[in-house]
């Protein structure tokens, strides 16, 4: 949406249905004001979040990606966030190797009852991304040869 360029950056969130999506709902119900940049993609579990989704989003236009699941031990599917933790940690360490600031990707745990915490996560992450500025400045060039 070009008319909002300059006001917002592109932040993609992958939220597990049971905890963090609920936490975002709780924040909404509690009318905790938050920056508007974040767009939420609902997934059943943080374990569903293939790190490649994060890469895909970052390479294709996102300025920041947030993954949030249930707190460790509190996964609705018992182990999903344990896998997510390992895989996303690996990714977080890898991104800067490719020249992508690791601060553009954050993964955390927010439960369905933690509306206030969710507000803080969104506010802080959005602030951090704005401090970093847009990730995609130049148009991708297409090769001929």
């Amino acid at each position: 949406m070009s008319y909002l360029a300059g006001k917002e950056l592109r932040i993609v969130g992958f939220l597990c249905n049971w905890c963090s999506y609920g936490g975002a709902d709780t924040a909404g119900v509690g009318r905790f004001k938050q920056p508007t940049d974040l767009r939420i993609i609902r997934v059943p579990c943080s374990g569903r979040v293939n790190p490649l989704f994060v890469v895909k989003a970052l390479l294709n236009g996102a300025d920041g990606v947030l993954v949030s699941g249930c707190h460790p031990r509190d996964c609705h599917y018992s182990d999903g966030n344990f896998y997510a933790r390992r895989r996303l940690e690996m990714l977080k360490r890898l991104l800067p190797f490719l020249g992508i600031d690791e601060r553009r990707f954050h993964y955390t745990w927010v439960s369905a009852s933690e509306g206030a915490r969710w507000k803080n996560v969104v506010t802080d992450f959005t602030k951090a991304i704005h401090e970093l500025g847009p990730f995609h400045q130049k148009e991708e060039k297409t090769e001929c040869s």
């Binding site: 390479l59 895989r87 690996m90 977080k92 890898l94 992508i100 954050h106 991708e140 060039k141 090769e143």
Partner: protein
């Protein structure tokens, strides 16, 4: 002669298996090529020298029946990793181990002789002597060895049913990931520019993927499929980078550092660098090295309830 011992080992195993994979001379003296043999008279075509670089294990998961395979120390990690991931039935594989202290990178030799046609290759002590139109050129093997050899700990394969020759100890220092750490000293912008330049050359021939012993999806790779549709066929850096991320992340905790991906790249892209970085991190995080112990579980396919090494990140 070592080659006779090797041939002897192959002859012995041949009746027990459907096929043996070894090396024979390729299209020029600098190139060895994989050789699939099932008849005793073919055994004499076998060669063994430091130019036998290909990791022959890569073929195993796709072959039916019993297979004999000539395996170097570095290659043997593939066998171990297959065992970890239950991708082979170990009993069906006859591993003919070969002790090896160092192979030679064809790319490095070619660079040293300015890409000229090679007429003859001989080995003398720790040197390779390459005859080119202007005469023989002697190059110390160490100068043209692939980087994996500099820190090789597996002079003798981890797994073998028969060992051609004597078991030997590695004489190399442990890998301390110096190169990876050195690269990390560059600024983010420099790193990004580096990869944009490198990936830009990629022609998406998938040689890196197809030569990888751990890329078991092969034809079903998501880099080409429409369902799921992870990448487009656009030839831009984004899509190329996406493919290499798919490759790298699918190998996280599985890459055995044979560096075949980088060896086979016709565009000379340092694709193993990414995998090495992941290996370094996973070693640090989980103390895990792929292809070392058949009883391990790759770290991305397991977890601990308390992860001592993973701290929660603050924004």
């Amino acid at each position: 002669m070592f080659i006779e011992k090797l041939k002897e080992a192959v002859r012995k195993i041949l009746p027990e298996v459907d096929v043996v994979i070894g090396y024979r001379q390729g299209f020029d003296p600098l190139h060895a090529t994989p050789y699939f043999l099932d008849k005793p008279e073919q055994v004499d075509q076998l060669i063994w020298n430091p130019l036998c670089v290909q990791n022959l294990c890569s073929y195993i998961p796709f072959l039916k029946g019993k297979v004999g395979v000539i395996v170097k120390g570095c290659d043997s990690r593939a066998i171990v990793q297959y065992m970890q991931e239950k991708l082979i039935t170990r009993e069906n594989i006859k591993v003919i181990g070969v002790p090896c202290l160092r192979v030679i990178s064809v790319k490095k030799v070619m660079a040293a002789i300015n890409q000229q046609t090679v007429q003859e290759v001989t080995f003398e002590g720790d040197n390779i002597i390459v005859k080119i139109p202007e005469g023989p050129k002697t190059i110390p093997s160490a100068d043209v060895a692939p980087r994996k050899c500099a820190t090789c700990q597996l002079a003798t394969p981890l797994q073998y049913d028969v060992l051609a020759g004597e078991a030997i100890q590695s004489n190399k220092p442990q890998d301390t990931f110096e190169e990876t750490k050195e690269f990390e000293k560059l600024s983010l912008e420099e790193r990004r520019a580096y990869w944009e330049k490198e990936f830009d050359r990629c022609i998406r021939c998938y040689a890196c993927r197809n030569a990888c012993p751990m890329c078991i999806c092969q034809d079903k790779c998501i880099a080409e499929s429409r369902d799921p549709h992870w990448t487009s066929q656009r030839a831009n850096v984004t899509e190329k980078a996406m493919f290499h991320m798919i490759h790298g992340l699918h190998l996280a905790g599985r890459c055995i550092s044979c560096e075949e991906c980088e060896r086979v790249c016709p565009m000379d892209i340092p694709v193993a660098k990414i995998k090495k970085k992941i290996s370094m991190d996973l070693k640090e995080l989980f103390g895990y090295e792929a292809g070392m112990n058949p009883d391990d579980t790759p770290p991305m396919y397991t977890f601990k309830v308390e992860e001592a090494t993973i701290e929660e990140h603050e924004i």
